[in-house]
Amino acid sequence: MRNFEVMSIAVLAILYTLVQVTSISIYFNGFLNLRISKYKFYSLTFLAMGVIKLLSSDTNSMVKLFLFVVLLSICILYSFYGSMAQRIYHIIFFTLITTLADLALSIITYNYDQKFEGQLFIMLVVYFSANFLSLLIVMLSAKLLLYFRSDNEVGLSNKECLLLSIVPCLSLLSIYWIFQYKDINQFVPCIFLLIVNVCIMLIYNSLEGKNFLIHKYSIMETQNKYYEESLENQREMSKLKHDLKNILLNIAYGLERKKTDEVKEELQELLKTNVFSYRLLTGCIPIDAILNSKLEQTKKYNIECTLDLQVPQDLFIEHTIDLAAILGNLLDNAVEAVLRLTEEIKKEITINIKFSEDKLFIIIVNSSNHVNMDFSYGRLISEKGKNRYGIGISSINERVKKLKGYSDFSYDEGYFSSIVVLPIP
């Protein structure tokens, strides 16, 4: 009997730890970004939660809680990106949900303790079932909260995080105060605390959403201004080119009349503008403007650029700024990726822009370091830094969506491909 008891306890403990690791994974992977491999994270968390099980059941619950928070913190701070304040907020909030769930169920099973006293096996089953149930509640709550989460990467400022953390923190401490009381005096305040904290989480989600919108619109503002200027430049240049014939006639006339000084002055004026460095690529202004400017960059960095362009020069485009911004972002990403290349990989970018069946197809392929294309949590993790998560790509996606187009990004064997299809009605 002894061995059987010990074995069953061990098996149940392992199962329970696994489910616990799953609930932690669901919650934290939903709100934060992993920075080590999934398997390392699972093993680490399993180890940490396992250690807590080894403590005897006599230990003070405050000590247990403290140890839980410390071990969980170590796992999370090591495994995830994010600001300190943000991660601490989530650690405290998760501990709170877990504690509340545990508490709710322990109240229910409290009565069973006395009923089945002596029948160890049944008590164990009841105990572990209650624990599994509480983890289930944690996972469901996590899923529910994630459902309301806005899909963005900007997060909250440290000040906002710390302020919000106060509520779950004090709630946790209140719970231990409440332990002194019995039954309904325990139950009711816990429900209240749960509601308060869920509200805080909803505010957190809402703040995240607002912060992101502010950030996005400020970026779009800047981009719009930049591209507007760029387009204006291009329009001026093409106008100038058009006027060139007349200017040349003027010069020829001036030379004929031997007005050399005036001619000299006019040439000076001409040479000040960049009309001679403007390259006619497709004849389509938004595309040429961006290509010309980015090609200058690639020349500077010695990046080999292959162009394959088939766009009618009399193509009428309604949303010139969006097209310019999309193309600009795509090329910026390509150039930056190539400049980040680590080994002796060839620096190359292929730009393919073709018009066919009333749609503009843009395919850009560049050599690149390995890119983590894990979209399982709905976010592309940016290579630019652990706190900037592909704002360039999300800006492209926004604009493509606005133009009712299609976009796709993929990485395969050393090359990153971006495909954008825009319907040109």
Binding site: Q310, F361, Y406
Partner: protein
């Protein structure tokens, strides 16, 4: 047997192109070609209108004398909507006019063997793919429709198949699985449990829906999203000759 024609007012140029095409085809097994040369758009149109000839691939020079390539292409499209038209041109500036006929590719002069070879293979691929048929029976009649004319295939209650083509609609008893086996997986993609679409008629793909050129909208099931994206990406790359 693939029927190709070259339309160019410069005899030297057409002979050169003919030789390159024959050489390219010779490199691969089981490609049989038949090449005809026309010196003017007028003679080509005459032959087509008289229904004496039918071609699958056309290499068409844009800069020709009386009737230029773009006008010829426009006239051809009135007769044959499916012919693969490959423009051959000296200038790399294009106009909307030339795009109206949905050309397959543009090739710049002076022509390079490698480029012609590549385009030829893609064109032959396309022809072969378009020559496939879908066979089905309704009651007592046997049908055979060219898969290149099929826009969408949907299944009702798992037993009845509705096929929408450019000109017609058909319904018959069958299962999606049987149909799937008859179709080219590079052109046809299953977007959800009961629907298969022809990528050639896709207008736009958003994350969750596909809109065809006939304005019909189909939802992509969650499980199929990645498959559809991959298939569409490959389709785009093939379509623009990447």
């Amino acid at each position: 047997m693939i029927r190709i024609c070259i339309c160019d007012d410069e005899q030297l140029h057409s002979s050169k192109l003919e030789k390159i095409i024959m050489d390219s085809a010779g490199l691969y097994q089981n490609i049989e070609l038949d090449i005809d040369i026309y010196e003017s758009g007028k003679s080509l149109l005459k032959a087509l209108k008289a229904r004496n000839e039918e071609y699958q691939i056309l290499f068409l020079d844009i800069e020709m004398g009386i009737l230029n390539g773009i006008e010829v292409a426009r006239e051809i499209r009135k007769i044959d909507k499916n012919m693969i038209i490959i423009y051959v041109t000296s200038y790399d500036n294009y106009t909307m006019e030339s795009f109206e006929v949905s050309p397959f590719r543009y090739i710049l002069k002076p022509i390079k063997e490698e480029q012609i070879s590549k385009v030829l293979l893609h064109a032959i691929d396309e022809v072969r793919r378009n020559n496939q048929y879908l066979f089905f029976k309704t009651q007592n009649l046997n049908y055979q429709i060219k898969s290149e004319t099929i826009l969408s295939i949907s299944s009702e209650k798992g037993r009845i198949i509705h096929v929408v083509t450019v000109a017609d609609e058909f319904s018959f008893y069958g299962t999606i699985k049987e149909i799937e086996e008859m179709l080219d997986p590079l052109s046809f993609i299953k977007v959800n449990q009961g629907t298969i679409l022809n990528l050639n008629y896709v207008h736009i793909v958003s994350g969750t829906d596909i809109i065809l050129t006939n304005k019909e909208n189909f939802a992509i099931s969650r499980g199929q999203r990645k498959v559809v994206k991959d298939a569409y990406n490959n389709f785009i790359k093939r379509r623009i000759g990447f």
